[in-house]
Structure formats: C-alpha cells, structure tokens
C-alpha cells in the first residue's frame, strides 16, 4: 500500500528556541557606600527542552544568583536572559510572575511547603494564581500527587509527612502547572542519602517521561554525576560546560 499523505504541506520540524538562554550575563549587588558584589561575570549558556543539567560550584560561586535569574525571580544587571526567546528585560514584575507560573517549577532545598495546609492544597497553590476553579485545581493536584506516588497522602499536612514525602509534595507542586523546566535547588540537601537518591530518581523519571527539562543546582558531586550535562561555576564564571562522562 502506498502511504497516503493528507497534508498538503509537509510537516516542518519546528525549531524550538532553547527554554532558557543566558548570554553574557552579569549581576552586581550593592552599590552606594558598600563595595559592589560582582556575583556573575559574563555567563553564557542555554537549556534545551528535555535536558537534564547540573550546575555545580562551591559556595560564593554565583549558583544562587544564577538560579534566581534562571527562575525569572530577578533580572540581570547586564546581558540577556530569554525564556523561549522572550527577553526578561521587557517584562514587568507581574509578567515575570506569570512567566514563573507557566514555565518554571521550583523545587527548594527546604521544601517550602505552607504549614497547616494539606498536601493537596499545597500542590494546588500555583493554580490559584491561574484563576482556575477549585474543582479543576483539586483534580490536577490529585493527579500530580499520584504521579509522585503520594495518592494516599492527599490530606496530610507537612508535619505529618517525612522529609522525602515533603519533597515529593514540593515536586508535585512544581509539576502541577506543567512547566517547561524544573529548577531544583539542592533538592537532596535536607535528605539522607537513600531518600535523596529516591527523590533524584523521581525527578529523572519525570524528566524522561514528560520531557520537562531538569536543572539541578547542587554542590553534591554524586547528584551532579547523574545529569547528562554538567556546568561548573567558579567566581561568577563558567569554568566547564560538558556532557557528563566526557573525557
């Protein structure tokens, strides 16, 4: 049988711009009487869809500053940060908030769950700022919690959950908005080795299955070695950027 082509125009493979693109990014803090802190000194790299990337470096290397820029929490002093080609300099505070809500899922070292709030409501929190109805928020949050294996913990409060479970709730919350990228800041920093490894396994599975890019910021070499690409920062500059396992 001859294959029948219904499409008049052949499908053009979409050239998607990188999710995040940083070009010659500088960030300075302070000023006035205090001496400037030059936290980032010309950082250039990009994150593609579905990538798994680790950013490592000692404290003071500019990791946190870079995370704030990649998470659209802050704007660079010099240089350009683009999300799918959109320059953050052209966005005001509220537009940045919307960008975070739609494209980025945050996973923090200290989980950052709201106390006295059930797992379900914690996970549904980002959807509140999309003005979704309660019914849909709950349905989506339930799905996200099922995806991280916490279907039986919907009504538990953070204090009733173990550290690993809390971090999985936080991952479900990052996931519920269907973001392009998960930004994980020392996701295993407050967990023991076994639990940390389980959480990394979960993040990697989501990365594979959902094609959501995973960007892990860590100083744990073991966590970093699980990524496919590794960027090392030192004194506000990228010193290496190469696939993991490369010579």
């Amino acid at each position: 049988m001859t294959p029948v082509h219904d499409d008049v125009t052949p499908p053009v493979p979409a050239v998607r711009p990188p999710i995040i693109e940083a070009r010659d990014v500088h960030k300075r803090y302070g000023g006035g009487l205090a001496p400037d802190v030059h936290a980032l000194r010309g950082v250039t790299f990009s994150v593609d869809h579905g990538e798994h990337l680790a950013i490592v470096g000692p404290s003071g290397s500019g990791k946190s500053t870079l995370l704030n820029l990649l998470g659209a929490l802050d704007r660079p002093t010099e240089g350009v940060v683009r999300f799918e080609g959109e320059d953050v300099r052209s966005l005001d505070g509220d537009q940045l908030a919307e960008l975070r809500n739609r494209r980025i899922g945050f996973v923090f070292q200290s989980f950052q769950l709201l106390p006295r709030t059930t797992a379900l409501d914690n996970v549904a929190l980002p959807l509140v700022y999309r003005s979704l109805g309660r019914r849909e928020r709950t349905a989506r949050a339930r799905q996200a919690l099922e995806a991280v294996g916490l279907a039986d913990r919907l009504d538990h409060r953070p204090t009733e959950l173990s550290g690993g479970q809390q971090q999985r709730v936080a991952i479900a919350r990052a996931l519920v908005t269907e973001p392009d990228v998960l930004l994980a800041d020392e996701p295993t920093g407050n967990l023991d080795t076994v639990t940390g490894s389980e959480v990394m396994g979960l993040l990697e599975r989501l990365n594979r299955e959902r094609q959501v890019a995973l960007l892990v910021i860590t100083h744990d070499e073991e966590v970093a070695s699980r990524a496919r690409r590794r960027i090392e920062l030192r004194d506000g500059r990228i010193v290496t950027d190469q696939p993991v396992g490369a010579p």
């Binding site: 704030n68 998470g71 929490l73 802050d74 505070g93 509220d94 908030a97 919307e98 975070r100 809500n101 739609r102 945050f106 923090f108 950052q112 709201l114 006295r116 929190l125 980002p126 509140v128 700022y129 999309r130 003005s131 309660r134 919350r173 908005t177």
Partner: protein, 394 residues
C-alpha cells in the same frame, strides 16, 4: 487570583492565629460598641426632649421677654397682665392665649412638704398648652380675676402630699398662704430633662403674683388656629406688643424650639460619636500593627507565593482582605454588643437609647474603612517584597 479565593486565604490566616486576631479585634469591637452606644443615647435624648416639647401641643407660639439666645439665662420679665389682654384682642380670641408666671416653692399639707414648680396661670392654660386633668377641674376666669387661692396639683405632688386620701377639697400651704385643692393633673410621665411636669402646682396667675409680690408675666402662649396662620398670628402678637422694643421680647414657634434644641442635641451626638471614634482609630492602629507582624512572619510564604506566580496585587489583596476580615468581624461583634447594651441601658437606666440606621451603617462602614485604611500599608509592603529576598528570609 479570584476574590473568593483571596478571602478564603485571608480567613484561614485569621483562624490560624485565633487568639491574636481576637485581641486585635477587641480594639475595633470596643470602638464600634462605643460609637453605637453613645449615638444611641444621644439620639434617645434628642427624641425625648423634642417629644417633650411636642407634648406642649401643636401650633404653639411662645412669647417671652428679651432677645432669646439659648446661651443666656432668661432676662427679667417686663410683661404684665395687660399685655396678655392685648395679645388676646389682637388675635381675636382670648381663649387661645394663656400666660404664666413661674417660681419654685414648697407646698405643704399636714406634716408633708414637697418642693414644686409653682405656675401661676390663666384659666385658658390647659387648652393652649394641652394639659389634662385627672380629677376635679381647673379654676375659672372669676377665680383668676379675684385671685382666689385655689390650686391644681401635679400627679406626683398629689400622691406625695395625700398618699391615702382624695386631695380634692383639702388645703395646702404655699408660702404661708392656704390654697384649696380643686383638681389634680393627669400624669404625663417623668422626664429626664428639665423640671418634672408631674411636680407642678397650678394656681391662678393673679394669686401667684400676689404670693410672689410681683406683677410680672414670664411667658405668654398663643395657640395658632393652624400651621398656616402662624406667621400672620405672630405678626399680630408683635403689633400688640408694640410698646416694647423689637429686642425686648421674642416670639418662638414650637418648631423653632424643636429645631434649635434638636440641632444642639444632634451636634452633641456627633461629638459623642467622634470621641468614641477615637477608640476606633486606636483599634485601627492595633490592626495595622498586627498586620505588619503578620507580613513579617510570613515573608517566606510571600516569597514562595511570588515564586509560584502570585502577582503584586494578589499578595496585596490577600493581606488587605485579612485586615478587613479582622476589622469587619470586629465591627459586626461590636455592633451586636452595642445594640445589646443600648437595649439594656434603655430598659434599666433612666437614659433612653435609640438605635438608628445611620449609626449602624456608620459603625460597619467605618470598621471596614479602618481595615482598608490601616491594612493598605502593610499589604502594599507585602506585595512589594522581592521574592528573592523573601524566599531566603529566616
């Protein structure tokens, strides 16, 4: 963020800090309670006093000596009985004119003695100023002409001097002179303000003048035919009294007196409300304070919410609603307590209290306004927090 959702978050935050919310709200509760209660008492006083003036009968013209100024004591009277006759002739019906001379004096009967307001009046008095007799009858025109020593007792005076017997036909002593009781006035009820009208004793004006050693007349009353004829009759009275200068007497209508007294009491009510409002203001400062604490405590939560997509106005709205929930619930509780207390006061204290719609609306509106006014600054501070800084806040 939807408004309902913001309200839910605000309510949760208030419930999570129940004790603190209750203590903060107490300031607003007391403020609203004070406003509602004091306005109720002020309004009660106003209604009672204007009611008492209306009780004198409608379409009443009151002619008094001097240029009446409510801030001054009444001047010495220059009216004489001849002026009363002139006024009666001028309006064409002496039956619609009455006059009085007033004094305070002890009235004795047997061993009992009561201090009363002694009114020397003309026989037309009951019709003109609307007084009814319970027993007996008022003295006649001949009693007035001959200055006969007869008296009509107020209900309370009669009850105190003659607790067991019928006072009619008995004798009372006023200023050393003996008067025969010919009637007892119907009770009009105690008044909180001014002399008690049940503690009056009425005698012929001529007898009173003799008793007091004077020829003066303190006031004349003219009952106008109708509301429409008041200006015309006032003008006739003015012409009848042409032997006086313009500023030597005043003609007041009942409506004018009610208007002036009502205005004064309304002002008094507003002053009371304003003083009570100060405590509401203090309560508002307390709310502002606790909102700043709340914002500072929840800095990380604010940072998190912003990282997850909350806009400045979402956060501001959330905290503003929290403040309004605090003051609004305080307003409702204070209103309920204020109405309850006003009812208690009305029932058990000698002070009337009347809840008016405007004081209820004012109390609720102001308490919500206080929440917005004192909540907006902490809420804006929360909304403007930098998520980077807020997330790292310990």
């Amino acid at each position: 963020m939807r408004l309902a959702e913001a309200l839910r978050v605000a309510l949760q935050a208030v419930v999570a800090n129940r004790l603190r919310a209750a203590l903060t709200t107490l300031g607003v509760i007391i403020g609203v309670l004070a406003v509602v209660l004091l306005v109720a008492i002020g309004q009660g006083a106003r209604q009672e006093i204007t009611g008492a003036i209306e009780g004198l009968g409608s379409n009443l013209l009151i002619v008094v000596p001097g240029d009446v100024d409510f801030s001054q004591a009444p001047p010495r009277s220059d009216f004489r009985l001849a002026d009363v006759d002139r006024v009666g002739r001028a309006i064409g019906d002496p039956g619609r004119v009455s006059a009085q001379v007033a004094s305070g004096d002890n009235v004795r009967a047997g061993g009992a003695s009561v201090f009363t307001t002694l009114f020397g009046i003309t026989e037309t008095y009951p019709e003109v100023v609307t007084r009814e007799l319970d027993r007996g009858q008022l003295f006649s025109i001949s009693d007035v002409v001959t200055a006969r020593r007869v008296a009509v007792l107020g209900a309370k005076v009669a009850a105190e001097l003659f607790p067991d017997t019928d006072p009619l036909g008995k004798t009372v002593t006023i200023g050393g002179l003996r008067f025969r009781v010919v009637g007892v006035l119907a009770s009009v009820g105690a008044s909180l303000f001014g002399p008690d009208r049940d503690e009056q004793v009425l005698v012929p004006i001529t007898a009173a003048q003799r008793l007091l050693g004077t020829q003066r007349v303190d006031a004349m009353f003219v009952k106008a035919r109708s509301t429409d004829t008041i200006p015309d009759e006032a003008e006739r009275v003015r012409e009848a009294l042409s032997r006086f200068e313009e500023d030597e007497f005043s003609i007041l209508t009942q409506e004018e007196i009610i208007g002036v007294v009502g205005d004064i009491l309304q002002l008094l009510t507003f002053v009371l409300a304003a003083i009570a409002g100060i405590s509401l203001l203090v309560g508002g400062v307390g709310v502002s304070n606790i909102m700043l604490v709340s914002v500072s405590e929840r800095t990380r939560e604010i940072g998190l919410r912003k990282a997850l997509g909350a806009r400045t106005r979402d956060i501001t709205l959330q905290f503003l609603l929290e403040a309004v929930v605090l003051t609004g619930s305080g307003g409702l509780i204070g209103l309920a307590a204020g109405i309850g207390l006003a009812r208690l006061v009305d029932a058990f204290a000698p002070v009337p209290a009347v809840i008016t719609g405007w004081s209820v609306a004012l109390a609720l509106g102001v308490s919500i306004g206080v929440g917005v006014f004192f909540g907006v600054w902490p809420a804006r501070r929360a909304g403007k927090l930098d998520p980077v800084v807020a997330l790292r806040h310990e």
